[in-house]
Symmetry: D5
Subunit: 93 residues, 10 copies
């Protein structure tokens, strides 16, 4: 199944710099791991925002939820999920 | 440049069926044409909605505007455009 | 996969009564058909509104989209879809 | 009476881990207790969110309010309640 | 059960005057009928709006839905329902 | 004059329990006092929320403002005021 | 009592020009009449909009409702009413 | 030029009482000063809110900005500005 | 004075093509005329929308209102006006 | 490419004055630097708000993102980006 996901990150301003750096490093490592599995084919930064828009290609909503909550920044994210399906005007579909 | 685009289509209920069918057929043909150019790499139907979410890969905002307004259904669309850029956690970037 | 779906129906005020009656009769028949398949286990009327909230139990978002667009009232609906997953506090899960 | 309830949980970021863990454990126990009474037949996690959507089957709004405010996480929830009634297209109704 | 209900009425501008007058007369008669039953104890006009805020005292959400949909203006209303319960600071409760 | 008032209370999570208890006790006492004066005839809890909807029967907006700001919880409330008038379909009006 | 009122006017595009002209002429005459009574001391056009913001000085919400609904354009207005009271920093109050 | 301005004040709950009192006293003095200059002819409290709606009569938007930012409570305000112009139905205009 | 203005145009779908063409031609001519006066220095199309964002440099809000309402498409526009002033970080200011 | 950008700044109330002053001084220096490069031709203060509206003239969305995130106040900003293109009624275009 395909899902569009938008994640907006908001770190508390009083979070110590090293805690934030560590979180971001672990987030990046986990993001690489998921991408290598082929389940996160689209990942883009929104211009001017600490946010991304992504497409996930997963077995189910259950799997998507497990992937998203495995991200170290998840507790600091506002996440919006949109279920997608094949478009009838898509070439080769 | 990369843009996320969401298009919601609303045809007037009193549009004659043949006019609507013709519009949709021409929309599909034009969508195929743009996809063949490589400028519309992502095109998905939103589940439960007469809407799509897409990614366009274009030279500029000017080009994106020309592509969108060339769609036969454009006068019946509500369009939302989000500028994208490379994400620092994207693999191979 | 489980999805929460809310459907708000708005018929044009100038729709002839017999057209509306026919639409509603065909909607009801199709709704019964889908329920009999086991894919629409929850269906409730929202108090004071021409709207329902439902849970669908389907193979995928593709299947949900096909079911929703097969409803005769679909062109007159505003539809909102929320992907669901197992809750960790659910008994027997 | 039937009610659709959506609960979004937001714990303060500076809540000590053990306090949060204790709250969650007591929440789970109380959720189990209410489910066993048969009054909370539907409970689902929203994909990508620290939130649930539920259906409660209660005697009255008074009882629903007592159940919701008995949840240990209630002070940290944003709750939305929608009154439901039988749908005329529901099979066996 | 107690419910707060807000009803906003919007008649199409092209509705013939006599049709509108007839609708309003029948609405008033039905509103009187429901009030006489004791189920509609609060009914107020919102200043500057073709809208009312009301309190209904009914057996259940099912009954409220039947009352609301029995109003001749119901097809032209936007209705918002809020479930109420006893307030702990209410005198004599 | 009649006013519909909705008050949503949000206490800071770090408020000491005894301060909160004292505030609530004084709120209750003041609410009783105003009700005894006959100026607060309707007071209901919103199901699932730390909020009430009320009707005030006062001389003027000035008086309503003085009553509302005399509530000990006022600094922690979000308040919404709607001016009401007699409804033409109200029985005995 | 003092009220802030914002009125947004939207005439249907298919209203005949002479009907619209007649409505506007009668609106102006009625607006002059109310202003002469001293009950409409502030009346301003919102820049770039077919809308006004006004202050009314009336006996009650009932009187305000009667004044607003006596305006010939009222059926084509969206009206927003805000109850006002004396400000403690106002000079000479 | 005429501007409608709405100011909503929100003081942090942990601001010491004497700091808040001092801010409010200085706000009042500055508000008096501006009113004496004739540039702040309308100033009203919104019923039930720590907010005001005002009309300013200034030379330009630059002057309005300087006046607003000179208010001691400005850092704690949410401010909304609406440009006004003469209304064609205003008497004596 | 400087104003940011956003104009969204929505022509009724049943407007005859020649009427729409005539409106657009007159709109363009009037837009050229105002630009030549130096009062409309910034005019941009929003990508993907039948809308523009503009900056006007005018004597007052009155003048801006006269310019905007002189546009032939004004009755079909939704207009949003934001008053601007000099920015302290602007070079050469 | 041209972009309209709106930036709303919100500094935490407990930020020490010297930290805020230093941030603002570095923000101003960086803003001057970018303006000197010719990439930030429009920069205006929104009247009554700690916010600006700007036009950026950049190579791409990537460049805009790098410029915006290089601003020292970026972590305290809410940023809204709108892609622009040439307007057909713009003189000399």
């Amino acid at each position: 199944m395909q899902f569009l996901v938008r994640m907006d990150v908001r770190l508390p301003h009083d979070m110590p710099q090293d805690v934030a750096d560590d979180l971001r490093a672990r987030e990046k490592a986990r993001a690489h791991e998921i991408q290598r599995s082929g389940k996160w084919p689209e990942l883009w930064r929104v211009v001017g925002q600490y946010a991304n828009v992504s497409r996930f290609d997963v077995e189910s909503g259950d799997e998507l939820h497990q992937l998203l909550t495995s991200l170290p920044l998840f507790p600091y994210m506002q996440v919006e999920v949109t279920a997608l399906t094949v478009h009838p005007s898509k070439l080769d579909s």
